[in-house]
């Protein structure tokens, strides 16, 4: 027993030594301290997304091998769901890398916190989709290779059976038409709920997916004049009208107040007739349904269809030791062929026409071209204020409460109160 114990102890000490030496070898090249002037680190949100990561890595490799590369770029990938938490922890510890991936609407918050430095690129961004260029207080802080677009998917056969016209970009469904379509689809008796709005979603999906509906009613998340209050905008008559309409979809049995965990799968398994989702679901749906798939714009609830603008973008951090090289790499990555490679791998909308021309699906007449039109025509940016992350959580909670049966006015008033208090306690988020 004695010998055995000594042996265990000895083994453990050896193991500890081994692991700490492993740790020494593996000690993060991601941390700022080990960044030489000739290597800079870039964080991305796409660990696990094999195609997207490979595309980004491809661009980086090409840059690193080019003769006029100003530094070697090293990619460090994080899983998307927890990416923000990782970045924020690193920022709190002062260990951000040179180049970061950011979800577009968070850019003003990070710029305000001085995590980001204004971009000085050699590329002309005027031809890019406006929603792929993140500006705050007159400066450009981030730029994206792509955007995504909200849309509605359905089967042509179902619409035909119900006697419903497919919505088009020239003639989207109006609120009444939408009501009528859902009534007819429900009457087919094929599904418990004809519509799936992805109501089981959480996090950023809630403001991304549902604030455009609010905006189509004529309301908004915040008064964009100075971004100081949400009062009268997020809890005004039009906002309440939106909330009642949204809740009404559930009350009438058109949609579940909490959809399945994977709406796309449910749609493809014929558990819903109309799916409200993003352009990312289109390729999968087309592969499964083929010609039967219809891609429709979102509903015009009074002020034309609206969709959220801005997806993942790139920025350069304030503490970067080699800003020059970081800017140089970003300019390089914005070449049409690079943007096309990334957009192709992700099934997203390329940021420029030149890039789109390189992808058959997005070139004129391509199957996904319609998403580019949606983006150009309907995109509304989420409010460009440092208060956005807070607004997003409060609005998301209001959406969930309304769906669960809360009084619409009460739920929205509560969100407004919290948002206004937060803005005030941050000194209006002024510099």
């Amino acid at each position: 027993m004695n010998k055995r114990f000594t042996r265990i102890l000895a083994t453990s000490i050896t193991a500890a030594a081994l692991v700490s030496s492993l740790g020494a070898c593996g000690k993060g090249s991601a941390s700022a301290t080990s960044e030489g002037s000739n290597e800079i680190t870039m964080w991305t949100h796409n660990a696990g997304n094999v195609e997207e990561l490979a595309a980004i890595q491809g661009v980086v490799d090409a840059y690193n091998q080019s003769s006029d590369a100003k530094a070697k770029i090293k990619v460090q990938a994080f899983p998307q769901d927890s990416y923000n938490d990782s970045v924020v922890s690193a920022a709190a510890a002062g260990k951000l890398p040179c180049i970061v991936d950011i979800d577009g609407p968070n850019v003003p918050n990070w710029a305000w916190a001085k995590y980001l430095t204004p971009l000085k690129l050699s590329t002309d961004l005027s031809a890019n989709l406006p929603s792929t260029v993140a500006k705050w207080e007159g400066e450009t802080y981030a730029v994206g290779h792509y955007d995504v677009a909200l849309a509605m998917l359905a089967r042509a056969s179902d619409l035909k059976a119900a006697g419903v016209r497919a919505a088009t970009i020239e003639q989207p469904w109006t609120e009444d038409e939408f009501q009528d379509a859902l009534t007819k689809l429900k009457a087919l008796g094929k599904w418990e709920y004809p519509l799936d709005m992805g109501t089981a979603g959480s996090g950023e999906w809630l403001p991304y997916g549902y604030s455009p509906l609010l905006q189509s009613f004529g309301a908004d998340l915040i008064n964009r004049d100075g971004f100081q209050t949400a009062d009268g905008v997020l809890n005004g008559d039009k906002a309440v009208e939106w909330a009642k309409w949204f809740r009404g979809l559930a009350d009438q049995g058109f949609m579940a107040t909490k959809s399945g965990k994977d709406s796309t799968q449910d749609f493809l398994n014929n558990k819903s007739g109309v799916l409200y989702t993003g352009s990312w679901a289109a390729d999968k749906a087309r592969a499964s349904l083929g010609e039967d798939l219809v891609v429709m714009p979102t509903v015009d609830l009074g002020n034309g269809p609206k969709i959220g603008g801005a997806s993942w973008q790139w920025g350069v951090t304030e503490g970067c030791a080699n800003t020059d090289a970081a800017m140089d790499y970003l300019s390089y990555s914005l070449k049409p062929e690079n943007m096309a490679a990334v957009a192709k791998a992700t099934g997203t909308i390329p940021a420029t026409e030149e890039a789109a021309a390189l992808i058959p699906e997005f070139a004129e007449g391509g199957a996904n071209r319609i998403f580019m039109d949606f983006s150009r025509k309907y995109a509304v940016m989420r409010p460009e204020t440092p208060a956005y992350p807070f607004i997003a959580t409060e609005y998301g909670k209001a959406v969930q409460d309304v769906l669960a049966g809360a009084d619409p006015q009460g739920a929205l008033d509560k969100a407004v109160k919290a948002i206004d208090a937060n803005i005030k306690s941050n000194g209006g988020y002024k510099n």
Binding site: G26, S31, K95
Partner: protein, 295 residues
């Protein structure tokens, strides 16, 4: 003993039925996970509302497992987690039992206060400590041996030790050992002291060999949180080559989730723990049998 054989047979059958019932309840979600890991997504959702969810029927293959290794450096993550958990467990057993030994069997002044203060740490949930702790570990010095010179740099972020050292000392383990040590007769120590044994020798040769069941329990209870740790590595580990298995779960939540792969990965990271449990529970029972410790 006095029960009639028939009654006791009936009794035994009833007990066995109860055991099987509990086992069925405990196992059914896991069976669902294992079975789903062999199916394509469409079928997982299609089978959801029938008994087929528990049966490996339909389009069965190991495709999901193959896909898992394409998406996640699963082997690397497994090795990391095994190493991190093993070291945490071994050092935890040593340091916590040592502390409990002094608190239980030695007349150290002030030990009651120390014990109470140690137990108070049980109340602090880790989630509330996480943020200040990130800042704090980044202030700690880091020693690195390069060649023959010792280099000191600041900050533990992005290392193995930041995933191990904060979790070695554990009030619950100290408590379990303490309670167990109290049940071992103190006369044993005195006999050893008369033979001239020092305190560490008593700890090593007298008490620890008798504490097998406590060690097995502590090992299992230390291993689990180390293996399942998720929030912490998310915050402090940036390099992919240092990440533990739980972070890997996040790799699957892309815009289009492949649930079959999620299930395959979840199965993959659950199996080692089950194997470990089986190994430990054997020694857990053996040590009780051999040590003859009485309550």
């Amino acid at each position: 003993m006095k029960n009639s054989p028939r009654l006791s047979t009936l009794n035994n059958a009833g007990t066995m039925l109860l055991r099987i019932l509990f086992a069925a309840v405990a196992a059914f979600p896991i069976v669902f996970m294992l079975v789903s890991s062999l199916k394509p997504d469409t079928q997982i959702f299609g089978d959801m509302s029938s008994a087929a969810a528990f049966l490996p029927v339909g389009n069965i293959s190991f495709d999901n497992y193959a896909a898992v290794f394409d998406r996640v450096p699963a082997a690397r993550f497994l090795i990391n987690s095994i190493g991190i958990s093993a070291v945490t467990v071994v050092l935890g057993i040593f340091i916590n039992s040592l502390c409990a030994f002094a608190l239980s069997r030695m007349e150290v002044r002030g030990k009651r206060v120390v014990f109470t203060v140690i137990l108070a740490t049980l109340i602090v949930p880790f989630q509330t400590l996480a943020l200040p702790l990130v800042w704090w570990v980044n202030q700690l010095p880091y020693f690195e041996l390069s060649g023959f010179s010792l280099e000191i740099s600041k900050g533990w972020l992005d290392t193995y030790q930041v995933q191990i050292i904060p979790f070695i000392a554990n009030a619950f383990s100290i408590y379990l050992y303490h309670q167990y040590f109290e049940s071992i007769p103190k006369e044993l120590d005195e006999a050893a002291r008369i033979d001239g044994a020092g305190w560490f020798k008593i700890y090593r040769q007298v008490v620890m060999p008798l504490a097998g069941p406590a060690t097995a329990t502590v090992a299992i209870l230390t291993f689990l949180p180390a293996w399942n740790s998720y929030l912490w590595p998310l915050m402090v580990v940036q390099s992919e080559e240092l990440r533990p298995v739980m972070i890997g779960i996040q790799y699957f939540f892309q815009l289009n989730v492949s649930w079959g792969e999620v299930m395959a990965y979840a199965s993959l990271i659950t199996v080692p723990v089950v194997v470990l449990f089986i190994a430990f529970q054997k020694s857990f029972i053996n040590s009780i049998a051999s040590s003859g410790v009485k309550g």
